[in-house]
Symmetry: C2
Subunit: 284 residues, 2 copies
């Protein structure tokens, strides 16, 4: 079985770091001349998939913008994800799910089980219930050849309250920042996988001061990193190597607004333009 | 406008603390003679609603067990939630959503906007991106007469890594446990609401050692508490007052397995039986 990490390695090597976010929020749908509805979200999603296919390796639909239309919105997301996978794109479903036990298994089944209507290649997960509460899900992902990105350090200013808090759980390595513990726990599950890149990654905002969260190059070694924050959110593709050091080649750099703002007529050219910004960004 | 806190106060005063969890996981569907499918989940959910109406004040559908069937499962959940609300039950949609900015607004709209297909009375939210990242959602909930329960301290053993970590964010009250900070931030938004009970609450597992998470009676004063962990998960209804002290009257005590295991023929009697276990539990 080819692992998600191997497929991601190939995608990044072939197309570069850019991942196109599929975020059909209402104002964007209106700007595209679409109705703010499940049908509008579906249409936008399918057009983004068309523009992304062959130009980037990865897309990231934002589940909330489909879920806001209820079951019809989720049906639209199913269509968008299926179209993206059929076009050879890797799909990271950004739902930030997190729970325990059989409930977490329900989410894992929804997003990662082969044949599930919402099947993606990887999901984003939230570790508020403890990074170890996700272990069973992460192992299931590996068994299915799928991937996951667990929230570690996000770029919003309010994030430090939880993500920089000091672990005090009686374990041998207490005193670490929460974000570092998350990254270490996730990364340790990649040990022994084939290929140079793990299948289980973390989310680290591109504009985050990694050191303040304990996320050094060593902690992130071999771990794929999903990095929102490029483009409209402020980080410059040219700084990819400066921002992520030795792990820069493992970064999935998400851009949404900077691309979707081009509108339906301009999006393909905009994807090319933004993807080109990452060329050479890994060279020192 | 009547607030969610006022409606919850009335529900708890009328029916007592018991909240019936609607958790259609596969093994349960099979045990009920239903297929593990969206249709099965819908059928179980509607039967639980029938049994719960007039016997308890609150039900809590677990979103994951519907989401695992994709858009059809979400459509089933829409039907179950609508039936519950039509029957006069308060619905807490347990999805543990959490994100930032316009994405979080998408989730808030999905679950709390009047007329949304997934409209509930309250939702559960996850604060890994910082409790303050949820403020806009929580204010929207208040404006709409809705409620929310933010994860504070859960009963799974892995939870301490994040929830007991010591806040170190440069704020004046750093050094608090993450769970305490969450509860304080959420509780402060209830100030000034009409009635004795807030509309914004926290999730605290019934079997959690509250003191170890900084969740004293003072921190939780006036805050509704959604408490999983009663029944099959180990906490005894007779201990409600011992476990939650002065805030015991504000506790929504969720039971799922202990009730659903009665099967379709026995569930109504089981709800009565379990609800009776909470009678007198608030007296000293």
């Amino acid at each position: 079985m080819i692992t998600f990490g191997q497929r991601l390695r190939t995608a990044l090597d072939t197309y570069g770091a850019l991942c196109v976010g599929i975020d059909p929020h209402e104002s964007l749908l209106t700007a595209w001349g679409l109705t703010p509805s499940a049908a509008g979200a579906r249409e936008l999603g399918l057009r983004v998939v068309d523009a992304a296919a062959g130009r980037v390796g990865v897309v990231k639909p934002q589940v909330a913008f489909f879920e806001q239309y209820g079951s019809r919105g989720i049906a639209a997301l199913e269509d968008v994800q299926a179209a993206a996978r059929a076009a050879g794109l890797l799909v990271i479903a950004d739902g930030k799910r997190g729970d325990i036990g059989s409930t977490m298994a329900g989410y894992t089944s929804a997003w990662l089980s082969p044949g599930s209507p919402l099947e993606a290649d990887a999901v984003t997960l939230s570790p508020y219930l403890g990074p170890d509460s996700l272990i069973e899900s992460l192992r299931t992902a590996l068994r299915l050849g799928k991937g996951a990105f667990v929230l570690a350090a996000t770029s919003n200013p309010e994030a430090a309250t939880v993500q920089r808090a000091l672990v005090d759980d009686g374990s041998a390595d207490e005193g670490q920042r929460v974000a570092e513990r998350v990254a270490r726990d996730v990364g340790s599950l990649n040990i022994g996988l084939p290929g140079s890149l793990g299948s289980l990654g973390v989310v680290v905002g591109a504009t985050v001061d990694r050191a303040a969260f304990g996320l050094t190059d060593i902690v992130l070694a071999g771990t794929p990193v999903l990095a929102p924050g490029f483009g409209a959110q402020g980080a410059d593709p040219a700084d990819l190597r400066t921002l992520f050091g030795y792990g820069a080649a493992n970064v999935v750099a998400n851009e949404s607004r900077s691309i979707l703002s081009a509108g339906p007529a301009g999006i393909a050219a905009r994807v090319d333009e933004r993807a080109a910004r990452y060329e050479g960004s890994l060279r020192g």
